[in-house]
Symmetry: C2
Subunit: 327 residues, 2 copies
């Protein structure tokens, strides 16, 4: 691998000039520029990132920690974040917390060791000591989609109560009274917010306020399936089911079919927070709140870069739309 020294020698300039042409914005003559660039191209020179980082204390790498990349919502965020970062000259290091705080912490240490310039966090639960210490050390951090109690960082998140409001309106229009709600963990802000908004809005939308219609899982399909089972085991027979995120809706659907059978289950209308590409194929088709994962990822990156640049950054709530697939 050629070094910048090789480039300089071949271009017939000093090391400093080569460096200025190749990265520093310092003033250089057109002649030096073209010579250096030609030499670099001929040698197929690619700068040594670690050396550059060591010297400049900047890596141009952002860390992105999500709870599960297999969740389409997060893979969409990751995709968008990565595109935007790349456009702005940054690379994204992706990590899966895997619903596991220990693993999340381990990744945070790796991020710290790699000396990332900033952190995009779509966290699972509360702030860990590791995270606290990184924040305290001055690392710029931005929260995606979820808030963390006592963590003072700008956030870019879906407007959950607005989204739940759309669902409530729809339920009312469709004339549903006995609605089952399958939520997510209370320890995750999205879980808590969606649950709270739903409970608060039931009465005004003519929905049965019997809490036996409500249960919560872990925002994964299996946990949601069990939660839906519990509701059904209580003898409740809802005319509609509301799943609080994509995997939750999937799990609820499985439980419905398992317990009631396919034909009986198809008499229950399902509505979801998170729109999945296959909802149109289920019968009856599933209506859903669509929130813009790509917008969250993109806004998160631009926000983080502003933070890195030392500018003040305001949190943002991103509002949702409703995809009505009834009739």
């Amino acid at each position: 691998m050629p070094t910048i020294k090789d480039v300089a020698r071949r271009a017939g300039v000093s090391l400093g000039t080569a460096s200025r042409v190749l990265s520093g914005g310092g003033n250089t003559s057109p002649k030096a520029r073209s010579q250096v660039q030609a030499a670099a191209a001929e040698l197929n020179y690619i700068a040594n990132g670690p050396a550059r980082s060591l010297r400049s204390t900047r890596t141009n790498v952002l860390g992105l920690l999500v709870s599960d990349i297999r969740n389409p919502f997060f893979s969409e965020i990751a995709h968008a974040a990565e595109r935007e970062a790349m456009r702005l000259g940054y690379t994204v290091l992706l990590a899966n917390a895997n619903e596991d705080e220990t693993q999340a912490d381990e990744y945070l240490r790796i991020f710290a060791s790699q000396r990332i310039d900033g952190l995009l966090l779509a966290p699972q639960g509360p702030a860990s000591p590791q995270l606290e210490s990184m924040l305290k050390s001055g690392l710029p951090v931005v929260l995606l989609n979820r808030l963390v109690e006592g963590l003072d960082a700008p956030s870019f998140a879906t407007d959950n109560s607005q989204g739940v409001g759309l669902v409530l309106d729809w339920l009312q229009t469709r004339g549903h009274r006995d609605v089952a709600f399958v939520g997510g963990p209370n320890s995750i802000s999205t879980g808590a917010e969606r649950m709270a908004a739903y409970r608060a809005g039931r009465e005004s939308h003519g929905i049965n306020t019997d809490d036996a219609f409500i249960d919560a899982g872990d925002f994964l399909a299996d946990g949601a399936e069990r939660a839906m089972m519990r509701i059904l085991e209580r003898g409740k027979r809802p005319t509609a089911v509301f799943g609080a995120n994509g995997p939750t809706t999937l799990g609820a659907l499985r439980a419905l079919r398992w317990v009631l059978g396919a034909s009986e289950a198809s008499r229950v209308e399902v509505v979801s927070f998170d729109d999945l590409e296959w909802f149109e194929f289920v019968s009856p088709a599933i209506s859903a709140v669509r929130h813009d994962a790509a917008a969250i990822g993109t806004a998160g990156v631009t926000g983080l870069l502003e933070l890195i640049a030392g500018q003040p950054v305001a949190s943002q709530r991103i509002s949702t739309t409703f995809i009505d697939r009834s009739v």
Copy 2:
């Protein structure tokens, strides 16, 4: 951020001793060890990765280039690869080629600049010059799921002809003669292999060999939808449709419903290469070949690390299973 110097001073030892304790396996006294470790813990010392990499010419970072992380198959691979890499002390830098060779090349340059220790490649098309040059420079590379012509690297891929064989058997058992096949691009090995295996097996499985029943998209939903449209526009009315990967099946389904209407479409049986979590909810339920993305990711990482260690690595074909959801 504390440096190793701070740790050494606090532990009352020299810089060299601290380094040996913290990373080098060199001989150290128990006393020195405990002192250094205590000091490191107290200071919350985290080694500077770039500095370490600069010195040791190893980064413990692997690059993973996929065509689209939003495709569940690739997100599963990424997830598994990352887990396995982490278990073995490596970090994964993820990049989306986005079906775009230019972007893929740009990421390859970034990888090179970051001085990754090895590359996991789930490529789009043929080998680019950038890729060739990285290979020539001695970077260990492993291919995931797809082969690349003229690229001499071990591969970990689904056994496509075996998988297609399972589908053919199933089609025969179900008594289908007029089967539509929606394939992928010929430029991608998986597209070419699945198409070839299907064509070769039609006759022996009692399937109509009229090529008007065959068309190909780009392995994405939109392209597949158009391909399916073309087949229908030719006046062909299949009793079954075979989609050559997950997004392709999704697109074919959309076209079927769009052209024939939901009730007519539900008289067509659909079968897919790639099993998606929602296939059970469609009616009739979609049967599918399931290939083990996680196994590919895991095997790819262990293979790559062997390659890095200088050991010989053999390519692997991973065989598939069939999920029969008929009746």
